[in-house]
Amino acid sequence: MKNIKVKNTYDVALSGIPTLDVISIEPKNKVAVLPSTFPNIKPKLEKKMGEKIKLGEKLFIDKKNPDINFCSPASGEIVDIVYGPRRRLDAILIKEDVSLDPIVFETHSEESLNLASREDLVKRLVESGIWPFFRAFPFKTIPKISEVPPAIYVCLDNDEPFMPQSEILIDHYLSDLKLGLAAVKKIANNNLKLSCKKGNNKALDALSSMITHQLIGKYPANNPAVYLYHAKKNSSENKSWTIKPFDIVRIGAFLRKGTYPSDILVSMGGSKSDKKCHIKTKEGVSIQDLIGSDLDSKSRYIAGGVLTGRNASDLPYLGFNDSALTIIEEGSAPEMLSFLSLGTEKPSKTATFFSSLTPEATFDISSSLSGGKRSCIGCSICVDVCPVNIYPQLLAKSILADDHESSIMHGLLDCADCGLCTYVCPSKIELGQVIEDKKEQLAKEVLV
């Protein structure tokens, strides 16, 4: 077991962190499937409006890779199909009908898994809609079925504010987690790199033989791209894959039960959230069901964490790729001569506010931009928070100057999309968006 120390990490002192309490919420309204939240696919519906569908039945495919199934997380009737700009398939809404039987697949135990071949396991995961849990670096796209990864990197822990904690996985889902890990290890041809936070004794005790690294550092030390960057020995590992820890639990649940694993665990928190805990619910649950009321226009609902999540106001559901709901204040009330304020309630990476006098405190942060957009002033605060040693301001400038080679040399493909550079920039430049857009453009060109 090795230790990896990640430098340039920074924890945003946010309030509203979810506790380790677990409650259950069943969806009362429709559940949604959100094809536009999958990276780099061209979704094509395989079912029509009004048709009945079974749990685990093929719902849509990717035109570019039609062999991979995307399956329904519920049995019921397709009651609505929502299109975005340019006929983008945004959401498929399903009204649940439990009388319909689910699609049944073969079950497995750890022993039978050992005897199965990798090809068989891949086939099983592909036909059941589980395959898209895997994401391949550098673009974090869904890997082709024929690809074999050099390694699969998994971070059990995470330190973005508001994501599910590994303690709950170990306390409530240990057997499924172990079964899932055995499956992932097989897919990785035994090259599974499993990490936990340094000192996470619960995980170390429960999974001792499987854990290969302990990660030291604040956010985003426990981010798979950061883990890969620090652990890789040469460029052959750049095409490694990753998978979220709870998705591994879902693989285990699938192998054990033989049906699509629609039970999910999400963390809910944020300064405007009534509940700050973990929730057992179903994939596709609506945000209204989770909060118990309608959406409030004065709050921002984020599917995911505050630094990397999706604004869920337009599609208020937690889909296949979502594992958290964060609710913060939308915008902030106007403050007179704000730049002269003492700022005891204004956290900053710099020490320009009196909030630095209380380093242990947590703060309510809204979605306010907290400043106007300016040009880059060369302050280099972004460099101090990049965990993969990129110079974000130089990378963004070379992307905006269309200097392709220079962007790649600067480490464009190493970027972990952690959002810290965008968070700290005083000129409010969308560094992360510039980098992400370029990666998306490259992915379209390179991945056929």
Binding site: M336, S367, R374, I377, Y391
Partner: protein
């Protein structure tokens, strides 16, 4: 406060798209974002932002400059009263200082500000706050009675040619305040060099007997040969104490090392000013002074013999190192480059000051020269750092 908000909101309609005054929108935006925090919210995956913005960033620098400014106002009046033999009572000294310094600061902010507003309107972007710093830095490098028309021309050159022509704050490669000063220095040398560092309130023959008004730099550079500079400095009334506290003739903001250190502490504690540039410059200067001291003998220029602390306290070394060299836009981006940049400024500035007989001080030129080299220093370090990455290409 609500009244003000409502007033601003009513005003906004006057400047909105399609109205006659649409092109003056940057003015309205500047006023609104100056008075009240922004209404903008995040629109990408990073939903929260650090509370630091460019306004706060620049205000901290202005705050760091306040001790120098206040002391400079007092000192300008003090030196005048000393020369004329007038009372040294605090209030009258401060009033005299204000009479000289305040117009320079006002002209600098007003004329420069007008240019900034013009460019913001023409280019359709918000007025950038970098000017808040440039507008105060430039006056602090001027003698207390620089003609106001020269102040206006200087700041115009600095803002327009030093910054706006390249695209505004963030896109310039030279320090705008220094560009302004260097323009005045070369175009109108008479009122910015020589015996101009004390504002004389009366004619020369009414001055106190024996008054010289020479700066420490002037004394040391004309001291002759051999180890005679220090005795002459002491004879002229300079001590390490008054060089440190700053009640000596000089440009408005440069004399008090104490006030500059207070400013430096604020900049370093808030992590706004690069301590690497400051320390690099100090190390470069010290090593150069040590070399001067070591390699000089009875036949060399007396200026080479001046000991370290005296050499560091006199002139504008402290001011330039703390406030001019640390301008983040014209300085290199990488931390490693900042050391080299600072070090070379320290070395070059000392060489120009001591060895070059044509220039009484070296920092303005050293910093501008290193501004030109900053991209090259960055390029060399970036190349070497990027080679160490494990290649991740497609």
């Amino acid at each position: 406060m609500k009244l003000l908000l409502n007033l601003l909101e009513k005003q906004e309609k006057l400047f909105s798209k399609g109205s006659k005054l649409e092109r003056f929108y940057p003015l309205h935006e500047a006023l609104e974002s100056f008075l009240f925090s922004t209404k903008l919210v995040t629109k990408t995956k990073t939903h929260i932002r650090d509370f630091i913005d460019t306004k706060r960033y620049m205000i901290i620098v202005v705050l760091a400059l306040i001790p120098c400014t206040l002391f400079g106002i007092f000192n300008a009046g003090y030196q005048s009263h000393l020369a004329a033999g007038w009372s040294l009572d605090f209030l009258s000294v401060f009033m005299t200082g204000l009479k000289y310094v305040l117009p320079i600061i006002l002209v600098s902010y007003t004329v420069g500000g007008l240019w900034e507003v013009l460019f913001a309107i023409v280019r359709k972007h918000e007025i950038n706050e970098g000017f808040l710093v440039t507008g105060l830095l430039f006056p602090l490098t001027c003698p207390p009675n620089l003609p106001l028309w020269q102040v206006a021309l200087g700041i115009t050159f600095g803002v327009v040619i030093g910054k706006e022509v390249f695209g505004g704050t963030g896109k310039n490669f030279l320090n705008p305040a220094l560009t302004a000063r260097v323009f005045v220095f070369f175009t109108y040398p008479v009122q910015i060099s020589g015996e101009v560092w004390t504002a004389l309130p009366v004619s020369k023959n009414e001055l106190v007997e024996g008054y010289s008004g020479a700066t420490a730099l002037a004394v040391a550079s004309q001291a002759g040969k051999g180890d005679v500079a220090l005795p002459q400095l002491i004879d002229s009334g300079f001590t390490l104490n008054n060089l440190f506290y700053g009640l000596i003739p000089g440009s408005i903001g440069e004399t008090s090392v104490l006030c500059i250190l207070i400013g430096a502490a604020l900049l370093i504690l808030t992590k706004i000013g690069s301590w690497r540039i400051m320390l690099g410059s100090l190390i470069g200067a010290i090593l150069t002074i040590l070399a001067f001291n070591f390699f000089s003998d009875q036949n060399s220029n007396a200026f080479l013999h001046v000991p370290i602390l005296w050499q560091l306290f006199m002139g504008s070394f402290a001011f330039a190192t703390v406030f001019m060299a640390t301008d983040p836009v014209s300085a290199p981006d990488l931390n490693e480059s900042k050391w080299v940049y600072g070090f070379l400024i320290g070395v070059m500035g000392m060489i120009i000051r001591v060895i070059n007989p044509a220039y009484p001080e070296g920092w303005m030129l050293a910093i501008l020269l290193m501004n030109v080299f900053a991209p090259l220093i960055d390029h060399l370090f970036v190349e070497s750092k990027l080679k160490k990455r494990i290649a991740n290409v497609i």
